[in-house]
């Protein structure tokens, strides 16, 4: 096992910098965000907060803006109005690539289609960003990468290329790759949607373990049982708005809004 789990880091510069700030301050603060692709408004005033170590699941029908919201949080998609703050970054004000890159060292994203780099082995996929982006020492990164692959149960696959791995294995490598950046927040964008039912479990176990260790996670998911199990808070989105939010027990068992009830009756 890892001798140094990703979340119990030795104090880095950025943590010392942050130690002065209010510890109860949410690590992700999204306020009244509007986002549009051309003339189509995808997000129509979304607000949410995530505390450090919190696990938030976003559920809702396709096209309700869930994935877009995640992409806004790590600055992949610009927003039209509102504000997004992640740790000390005002995401909506980031303009230059340099600023966005600084943000993305804190927020890592895992995609539905894994998006591993096909010309690199599993281990190289995990090692690339820490070496070239964080400029960490190769041997140290290698050690950590092997530990991370062990953590996701793929140490023996370290020299395989993504094309030689199953979907579930690729997705776990992708999670290890994101963790190698030691992010403060992990974003998961329907990470099990492209997997067959048997391999879904292995990926969910990995995420569950992360959540237990105290990693701040925001998940867009269609796995309702999983959301109920690990989430501190569940958000139900529809039509670019958050229709209802609450602890999983409340939202799943006693939804207040008609729209939520209708959706849950379809999927549960």
């Amino acid at each position: 096992m890892m001798d140094r789990p990703a979340v119990n880091k030795s104090p880095t510069q950025r943590e010392r910098k942050r130690s002065g700030s209010d510890p109860s301050r949410p690590i992700v603060d999204v306020a009244d965000v509007h986002q549009a692709f051309g003339s189509v408004e995808v997000l129509k005033g979304v607000s949410m907060i995530v505390r450090k170590g919190g696990v938030v699941c976003i559920i809702g029908p396709s096209g309700s803006g869930k994935s877009t919201l995640l992409r806004c949080i790590n600055g992949l998609v610009p927003i039209q109005s509102g504000s997004i703050r992640v740790a000390d970054f005002e995401v909506h004000q980031l303009r230059t690539d340099k600023e966005k890159i600084a943000l993305r060292k804190e927020v890592s994203m895992v995609f539905q289609q894994y998006n591993l780099f096909p010309h690199k082995t599993a281990l190289e996929n995990v090692m690339m960003a820490p070496i070239h982006v964080l400029h960490e020492e190769r041997n140290e990164v290698r050690e950590r990468a092997v530990a991370l692959l062990t953590k996701v149960g793929l140490a023996q696959k370290r020299d395989s290329y993504p094309g030689e791995l199953s979907g579930g294995q690729q997705q776990r490598v992708a999670i290890a790759r994101s963790l190698a950046m030691r992010p403060e927040v992990m974003l998961f964008d329907e990470v099990t949607a492209a997997l067959d039912p048997e391999t879904v479990k292995e990926v969910l176990n990995t995420i569950r373990e992360l959540a237990r260790e105290g990693m701040t996670c925001i998940l867009v998911t269609h796995e309702m049982r999983f959301a109920r199990e690990i989430a501190d808070e569940v958000l139900f989105t529809d039509g670019g708005k958050i229709v209802e939010a609450g602890p999983p027990a409340e939202l799943f068992d006693r939804p207040r809004m008609e729209r939520t009830k209708a959706f849950l009756s379809q999927v549960l």
């Binding site: 692709f37 992949l76 690539d97 890159i101 998006n115 780099f117 096909p118 070239h132």
Partner: protein, 286 residues
Amino acid sequence: MKRESVLPVLLPDASRLVQTALRERRDGWRVRLRASHGGALLAVFVTGCAIAQAQVQAGNPSILETIWKWTPLLARGFVFNLAISFMAMGIGSIAGLFLGYAQISLLSPVRKTSWFVTHFFRNAPWLVLLFYCMFLIPFEVTLFGTKIPIPDWTKATLGLALPVMANVSEILRGAVQSIPTTQWEAASSLAFNRRQTMWMIILPQCIKRMLPPWMNLYAILTMSTVLASIVGVNEMMTLTQRALSAENRPGLLLSFYSYVLLWFFVYCYPIARWTVHLEARYAVKQ
């Protein structure tokens, strides 16, 4: 590229269609040599020899003897064709990579200029470019008081390197655009900057995609080197014409020219097969 759609959910499909179109466009101009083409050439050659042999007058050497007699000279010409093709390919590829990289620049003037240069040379007939180089480049230049001659074959090489450059530029651009945008997304979510993404993630994946069209281009170029005969370079085609006029026997025409074609086939066929093989191999991996 700006795309507008009233249905943004269709954008992934739309961009895939665009990529398919780009790929077809990139690969559309292809040589697909088959063994049967070689068989047909051989048949033409044998027929040509047979017809010519029937016309041989008593006292003249047989057709095969005549061809054998000229083969060393023709082979020297062929080596010259290959030399021109290597150099034109080398120069054209290096220039084309720069031009192609400029085509995906974020700076609009750089992108537009290189786009124009690429399409100008890509769509200009090869022969016209060859003539331009032949007549616009002086036969010698004076540098620091010394006269440096520029031989015709150098000009021909440059003339052929220009369309190669344009095509390589387009191959690079097409390859970069055929890499799924999700690779860019994944790289930028891992905080890679654009230059790192390009050099560590996108371009390495492009090499495989570029190799088949690049080899295809080389096969086309090799066959185009005979164009240099029109501008008087001593390559295989020119030498064949000389041999024919020296022999002064009209019956030799078919057999000699099909003989030259056979040489080119024997050289280009393995390249074509290898290209097909690589394409098949890389197609599965994606």
